[in-house]
């Protein structure tokens, strides 16, 4: 495999290769800085009280208040459904059954869900929750659809967090006479908590940024959803409509800025929690 080349040439090859690698890595960093910098720079003029608290009804008003509330509602409701289900599913896979055909079927289904495009979830929500269950375009439909989307994230990060709980904790609890469920509830989940929360942060990011899956499930009404059957527009959907229809470039920049800030906050929190989990459990929490 190794050709007989002179040492001088090999060193030169290496310098060249490393220079290319460094330049391309720098490109990645520049892409990230450019996106965040460009959006922040252009959003500054539009960031004012009117933008935060106003509603888009008035033509001169580009406020995002209803969209911010709808986004928050969607996130809270979605987590209320997907978090317990995802955690319990992961507990079953990790604490109750051995690796086997059942676990591998569930795992491959979960992987399939994780790799499914948003638009497919949108169609599923439209037909199943919207048409068959009669939820139409509503907060209820959007919540259920988004729950399915983040289920794999929560399951995977919870499984990783459970893996990092030392076996001796379980043995200690069981030896004291606690049942399996008591052990899970009072010992294992408590110890896995930071890791699970780190996954929760990633899930929040996913819901906040989701658009394609919500177009035909949550809809795009620009008022605050006051009931589960109301349609509502999230911030990401709002940005799409502003950009696609060219309604307000200023409003679009400001909305994009809010989304980017949320993503950064969520990422920083997730990493802090993952580090805490690392300190306690000793194993890396995967993304």
């Amino acid at each position: 495999m190794m050709k007989s080349v002179k040492k001088h040439d090999r060193k030169r090859d290496e310098r060249f290769a490393f220079a290319v690698i460094k330049a391309l890595s720098l490109t990645t960093a520049l892409v990230l800085l450019l996106i965040i910098g460009y959006i922040t720079w252009n959003a500054i003029p539009a960031l004012n009280w009117q933008f935060v608290a106003g509603t888009p009804g008035d033509p001169l008003n580009t406020g995002i208040w209803p969209m911010a509330v709808n986004t928050l509602l969607l996130v809270v409701l979605t987590l209320a459904i997907a978090l317990p289900l995802g955690i319990l599913a992961a507990v079953y896979l990790k604490e109750y059954v051995r690796e086997g055909p059942f676990v591998s079927v569930v795992r491959s289904a979960t992987e399939n869900l994780a790799g499914m495009p948003s638009i497919i979830f949108g169609l599923f929500g439209l037909v199943f929750f919207g048409k068959m269950l009669g939820l139409g375009w509503s907060l209820a439909n959007g919540t259920l659809t988004a729950s399915i989307i983040i289920l794999p994230t929560i399951m995977r990060t919870t499984e990783e967090a459970l893996k990092s709980v030392p076996q001796s904790y379980r043995e200690g609890s069981l030896a004291l006479g606690a049942t399996r469920w008591q052990t899970v509830k009072k010992v294992v989940l408590v110890s896995a908590f930071p890791g699970i929360m780190s996954g929760l942060m990633l899930a929040i990011g996913r819901v906040v940024g989701e658009t394609a899956a919500l177009m035909f499930t949550l809809g795009s009404s620009d008022r605050v959803a006051t009931s589960l059957m109301d349609s509502g527009r999230t911030l990401a959907m709002h940005l799409y409509m502003l950009a696609h229809e060219g309604l307000s470039v200023e409003g679009a920049f400001a909305t994009a800025f809010v989304l980017v800030v949320v993503v950064l906050a969520v990422n920083v929190t997730a990493e802090m929690l993952a580090n805490r989990a690392l300190g306690r459990g000793g194993r890396q929490i995967g993304r």
Binding site: I21, T28, L88, Y96, G115
Partner: protein, 301 residues
């Protein structure tokens, strides 16, 4: 008598506890089965809704049909322009994104100092978290005007490919970096001890050893690019014709669904044809998922 020995302490605390445990275990299993159920439901839904169009038009006719005119007097439901569109933008995204992402992964895993290395993962995390619609908006405001300098409207294959290249970076970086890091240190030491340079070691030893993980990252990136909707819709021009070149407008399968599902009459042939587009997309994504599983399994053995 038998019942007496089978259930000797029916009212007893220990047995009540056992029953509760059993019920809990059953409940947990149902939660775990949920993802299986959802995948089955999605599969059934997509193909059930797509069936009327496929039956009426013929699957082969739809896939090879070059004309998409759903609202014409004599409607046409050819999906080839959208299949070609998805293919074109994905191929371009890989061409740009994979070298950049792989280089970043190599840098993070092999070249960066201990202080800089975590930054690579952090960058990938943030890039992965940025919503697709933000990428689309950025593409619309920055990439499209830049491409316009080359001629045309700026919206088309090139713009969509560049935006998608940015979006697949985190997938390529994080999965490849993990694969490169998983290569045992002895491999490197053995190669260096034999007098190879660091670069020769990376190129001839580390990367071949991490091959399956790197391949998995590329396949995952294909899945992400093909499935992306909101970023592409803002920059691709969305005309349902087979793209002639880098600057011509294009429409992907995902965009086709997102653009028309909003106004289509449920139950109509047009509606069903959109689900047929979704079925093609779905089948492709399943193929991707399957290959990722096969690649990673082959690698771990």
């Amino acid at each position: 008598m038998a019942s007496l020995t089978l259930f000797p302490k029916a009212g007893n605390k220990a047995s009540a506890e056992k029953r509760t445990e059993r019920i809990i275990k059953g409940g947990l299993m149902l939660c775990a089965l949920l993802s299986v159920l959802v995948v089955l439901l999605i599969t059934v839904m997509v193909f059930k809704e797509a069936w009327p169009a496929i039956k009426q038009q013929g699957l082969l006719n739809m896939i090879t049909g070059t004309s998409w005119k759903p609202t014409a007097a004599k409607p046409r439901f050819g999906l080839l322009p959208m299949i070609a569109g998805s293919f074109a933008v994905t191929a371009l995204a890989l061409l740009i994104g994979v070298p950049v992402g792989l280089a970043t992964a190599i840098y993070g895993a092999e070249l960066a100092t201990v202080r800089v290395a975590p930054l690579v993962g952090r960058m990938a995390g943030i890039l992965a978290g940025i919503p697709s619609v933000v990428y689309g908006f950025f593409g619309l405001m920055v990439i499209v005007p830049a491409v316009r300098l080359l001629g045309g409207t700026g919206m088309g294959v090139l713009s969509a490919g560049v935006v998608l290249a940015m979006m697949i970076l985190p997938t390529v970086i994080s999965v490849s970096e993990a694969a490169i890091r998983a290569v045992p240190g002895e491999y490197r030491e053995a190669s260096l001890a034999m007098g190879a340079t660091k670069w020769q070691t990376i190129w001839h030893v580390v990367i071949p050893a991490a091959k399956s993980g790197i391949m998995a990252s590329v396949v995952l990136a294909i899945g992400r690019a093909v499935g992306e909707t909101m970023a592409v819709i803002l920059v691709a021009g969305n005309i349902p014709v087979i793209p002639k070149g880098l600057l011509s407008a294009t429409r992907t399968l995902t965009v086709n669904i997102a653009l028309e599902m909003g106004y289509v009459r449920p139950g109509s042939l047009h509606y069903s044809a959109l689900f047929a587009a979704a079925a093609v997309l779905f089948a492709f994504i399943m193929l991707i998922n399957l290959s990722v599983r096969m690649i990673t399994r082959g690698g771990s053995r």
